[in-house]
């Protein structure tokens, strides 16, 4: 899409008009062909397109954030087991701790698998060298 990027005179922020007539009167705008208005950046000196590396780092941060919330949501489902074990530990009830570990062994193994998968995914995201490679990484745990 075509955009017309400019610094908003009142807000002093980078804006991208999607129509030339959306640029405020008297304001100088720079025309770009982009995939998204987020492809443009103001670096304090000039308005320019983000470099491939900047885009890559941005998308990596986004993917890692997505992964973090996703893993947290997976672990949250069995957090009550950890709470039970922690309570038993506070009471120094070793028999109860062992009983809980045994009763919930499948869930505890699952948590370990989620954490291992999380580490593997983080590495995969960090190691990605292109936007295409990064976009192809689907955040979905299938170990359960």
């Amino acid at each position: 899409m075509k955009i017309w990027a400019y610094i908003h005179p009142q807000l002093n922020i980078l804006c991208c008009a999607l129509l030339p007539e959306a640029v405020p009167e008297g304001v100088e705008a720079v025309e770009f062909e982009v995939e998204s208005p987020d492809d443009v950046v103001y670096d304090g000196i000039q308005i320019r397109l983000k470099t491939q590396d900047e885009k890559l780092q941005e998308l990596k941060a986004q993917k890692l954030s997505e992964l973090k919330t996703y893993v947290a949501s997976l672990l949250a489902q069995t957090d009550y087991i950890i709470t039970k074990i922690a309570e038993a530990q506070i009471q120094n009830d070793t028999a109860e701790i062992e009983a809980l570990k045994q009763r919930y062994s499948a869930q505890l193994q699952q948590r370990e698998a989620i954490r291992a998968w999380n580490e593997w995914m983080k590495q995969k995201i960090r190691n990605a060298t292109s936007l295409e490679e990064l976009k192809a990484i689907e955040i979905r745990f299938e170990g359960g």
Binding site: C15, C16, P37, D38, S73, L74
Partner: protein, 262 residues
């Protein structure tokens, strides 16, 4: 000639009195006949009998015409609309509009966004301070990609001016939430099709949007999301509903309905 209510003059003494009276009577019959449809009293239908206060009735809606219910009992106003002091019942198609149209309270706009041709669609809707509703429907299509749908109000992006909080429930059981900033309103991702419902306030001092959507994921699983968003700047008026962007070409037409609520 004028109608004479009592044409026969029995006191008349003219030599051609009878002839005069009969001619006058004929003229009167003519005048009376013209009051009927086809100038024929045999039709049994008086001309202009369908008027109320001078307004005709017709099944074809037109200015200054009274429209009856049709054969199905429906009041079909077709191209025209109903307006009261507080609500306008009308749908306008803004798909090919070339300038912003100001919706009246209650009025609805429909916009078809052919996503095979363009990644953006200007909704061409002027906004006043108030409340609006928007529905977006993307048909189920396995070729649709996981593109983010954005609404850029006033047809432009404002870097990091939109605070977004989203909670999503993915099948089978994962729940995710996050808060980030965007340069426009984030409507969510079109994965393979879905339905989006958005309500927003366009007051300069309080520009908010709440929305929820259901989409079908690439693996066939569903996703339900609930978003709340705020346009943080309280000085910029929201004067044009904006432009919808899909970030990439997708295979289908989005149907967008916008209604002004206040």
């Amino acid at each position: 000639m004028a109608y004479t209510r009592r044409p026969f003059d029995y006191t008349g003494t003219l030599s051609n009195q009878v002839q005069n009276d009969l001619n006058l009577a004929n003229d009167n019959f003519d005048i009376l006949a013209q009051a009927f449809v086809s100038n024929d009293p045999a039709t049994g239908t008086v001309k202009n009998a369908d008027t109320v206060d001078g307004f005709h009735a017709s099944q074809t809606p037109a200015p200054n015409v009274i429209v009856p219910l049709d054969a199905s009992g429906v009041l079909d106003l077709s191209a025209t609309y109903v307006k009261s002091n507080v609500y306008t019942f009308r749908r306008v198609d803004l798909t090919n509009a070339t300038s912003d149209y100001e919706l009246q309270v209650g009025e609805e706009a429909i916009i078809y966004f052919d996503t095979t041709q363009s990644t953006t669609k200007n909704l061409r809707t002027a906004t006043k301070e108030g409340l609006y509703q928007m529905l977006i429907w993307a048909k189920y299509d396995t070729s649709i990609n996981n593109y983010q749908v954005m609404l850029y109000p006033n047809n432009q992006s404002y870097t990091d001016q939109f605070t977004w909080l989203g909670i999503c429930l993915d099948e089978p059981s994962s729940v995710s939430r996050s808060t980030v900033t965007f340069s426009g309103f984030n409507l969510g991702r079109i994965i393979e099709g879905g339905l989006y419902v958005c309500y927003f306030s366009t007051y300069t001092l309080g520009k908010f949007m709440i929305s929820w959507h259901v989409v079908v994921g690439s693996s066939g699983n569903g996703r339900l999301c609930y978003f709340v968003q705020r346009w943080n700047d309280t000085t910029t008026p929201w004067t044009s509903l904006g432009t919808i962007s899909t970030a990439g070409l997708i295979n289908g037409t989005l149907v967008i309905l916008v209604r002004r609520l206040t």
